[in-house]
């Protein structure tokens, strides 16, 4: 029993330690594709370190929500990490505390507080970005629901550890139409949720065009560091849900020895970096959509997920 708790803590440490690295690699590769040198892959660590050593400025007009939000944004991906498979393919200590829907709600809680905090200060750009994020969010929500319900229906469970086994036992299950279509829908969802091209430009510095970034504009010092770190952890956690639960449990540790679990760390990182390569290809080959085209993008994701549901339900 004790090693299950330790492995659970190891998952959290892994997410906390490597989330900025993945973000850095993504930025670096994107710049490389555009034949620029780009910042070092370790730049997010330096940013976070620097921000932790700076003074924090908080507007005197804002309420407790503004002060609390960085902690909520930072802690919610960690809670989700306790529920999902990051390193092992067998349930750990906290695995049955909540299912995938629970994880989705916890992540949504972080987004909810970030939205409130953006409105809290009275900065005109904050509420604008927050309302846009809500627009993307409520269009993405039905896709989330349908993907999760389809998965649960096919695998017969909402616990991620049980779902992931279904795709590879037997291997032919991997080619189930609902599986592949659902993966497509979920990639579109990750792009929308983490504010990447074609929905949002993460490296843009123009406030009027921002969707996701403008929520953190008012933060400085420690708050900004926590927001940045929390954002990269959210991306990492979504990648883990996608790659380990929805794609296939390849690379996860089977055994209960420390060696095997530690071996899973580089394997999972390699898996995520391969996915990051796919994201870089998507981001470099598409242009950012106009705001009112986002409904079409997410409408396409919705159509894909419903097609997955239909083929899944009737293929049984």
């Amino acid at each position: 029993m004790s090693h299950r708790i330790i492995f659970n803590v190891m998952q959290v440490i892994m997410v906390m330690a490597f989330a900025p690295l993945i973000k850095g690699i993504l930025t670096r590769l994107k710049e490389n594709v555009q034949s620029k040198r780009g910042p070092s892959a370790f730049q997010p660590y330096r940013d976070i370190w620097k921000l932790f050593h700076k003074d924090e400025v908080v507007s005197e007009h804002c309420s407790w929500i503004f002060r609390l939000t960085p902690f909520v944004v930072f802690i919610t991906p960690i809670f989700v990490t306790l529920l999902i498979p990051v390193l092992t393919d067998y349930p750990l200590f906290f695995a049955f505390m909540g299912d995938m829907l629970g994880g989705g709600f916890i992540l949504a809680l972080g987004g909810f507080f970030a939205t409130l905090a953006a409105i809290d200060t009275g900065n005109p750009y904050g509420p604008m970005g927050a309302s846009r994020t809500r627009m993307v969010g409520f269009l993405a929500e039905p896709v989330f629901m349908i993907v999760f319900f389809t998965v649960s229906f096919i695998a017969g469970s909402t616990i991620p550890y049980i779902v992931q086994k279904h795709w590879v036992t037997p291997l032919a299950n991997f080619f189930e139409p609902s599986h592949i279509l659902m993966l497509l829908a979920f990639v579109m969802l990750i792009i929308a949720e983490t504010g990447r091209i074609p929905v949002d430009n993460p490296s843009g510095h123009f406030e009027l065009a921002m969707i996701d970034e403008s929520k953190g504009l008012e933060y400085s010092g420690r708050g900004a560091a926590l927001m940045k770190w929390g954002g990269s952890m959210k991306f990492f956690v979504l990648c883990c849900i996608f790659l380990n639960v929805l794609v296939a449990p390849w690379g996860l540790a089977h055994g209960t020895t420390y060696g095997e679990v530690l071996l899973a760390v580089p394997l999972i990182l390699i898996k995520i970096i391969i996915f990051v390569l796919v994201l870089v290809a998507i981001e470099s080959s598409l242009a950012k959509l106009r705001l009112f085209r986002i409904t079409e993008f997410l409408g396409a994701a919705f159509a894909t997920s419903v097609a997955a549901m239909i083929t899944g339900l009737f293929f049984m």
Binding site: P170, A300, T304, A307
Partner: protein, 228 residues
């Protein structure tokens, strides 16, 4: 699980995957704005039809389905795109925005409704056809993309996507057909393949004529008779 069972399950999953992506590309024909992408999507859909015919032909041991697959690849993947590109002319494809009668999210929702409806219609048919794994995938999806093709024709205003909608209807009919009639006579296959070629040629030429006369191919705007 024994060896043939494993192969069968693998083949049926692969066929189902082809069916799922087939349905998705039918959605794409309803909603995608770029005309060139629409054409490529149609080629992709025909390729999926050929793959499904190959899998079914292997399963039923039917040479006819291999012929269907070969004809599909030759006529729909190679000749029809070439015909449509060369008769209609480049400038019609360079346009990015396609105006639609209903906006895109709404037409996608209607398309989803059509799909669910066609599953309900096809349910009794699947039971009547023997309720095999292949029938239960191919029949409803083929029916759905047949109706979606008709929907594409009604919802689009440009000529080329309308032509593609009609061709997609034919694709859907074939997709359903290969599962319930694995031993179609050769003459019917050949006739269908040539009919599609002729249809594509005639409509391509008609579109070229329209675009030469009007300077555009938005046939949805041609709603009033000219009086003099």
């Amino acid at each position: 699980m024994s060896e043939p069972d494993l192969l069968f399950s693998f083949l049926s999953k692969l066929n189902a995957l082809a069916g799922g992506v087939f349905l998705l590309s039918a959605f794409g024909l309803v909603a995608i704005r770029q005309m060139l992408t629409c054409l490529r999507l149609y080629v992709f859909q025909s390729l999926l039809l050929a793959i499904s015919a190959l899998i079914l032909g292997y399963h039923y041991g039917s040479i006819h389905l291999f012929v269907v697959a070969g004809l599909t690849i030759i006529s729909k993947v190679l000749i029809i795109p070439w015909l449509l590109r060369h008769t209609v002319g480049y400038e019609s494809y360079a346009k990015r925005e396609i105006s639609q009668v209903i906006n895109i999210p709404a037409s996608l929702l209607i398309a989803l409704g059509i799909t669910i409806l066609s599953y309900y219609i096809a349910g009794p048919l699947v039971t009547a056809a023997g309720a095999g794994v292949f029938e239960s995938i191919n029949l409803p999806i083929g029916l759905a993309s047949l109706i979606l093709g008709a929907f594409t024709v009604t919802v689009r205003r440009e000529a080329v996507p309308q032509v593609l909608g009609i061709l997609a209807m034919e694709n859907g009919a074939f997709f359903a057909g290969v599962s319930i009639a694995p031993t179609l006579p050769f003459i019917a296959e050949l006739a269908a393949a040539f009919a599609v070629l002729i249809i594509a040629l005639v409509m391509g030429l008609l579109t070229m004529k329209i675009s030469k006369t009007l300077g555009k191919t938005a046939v949805g705007e041609l709603i009033a008779l000219k009086e003099d």
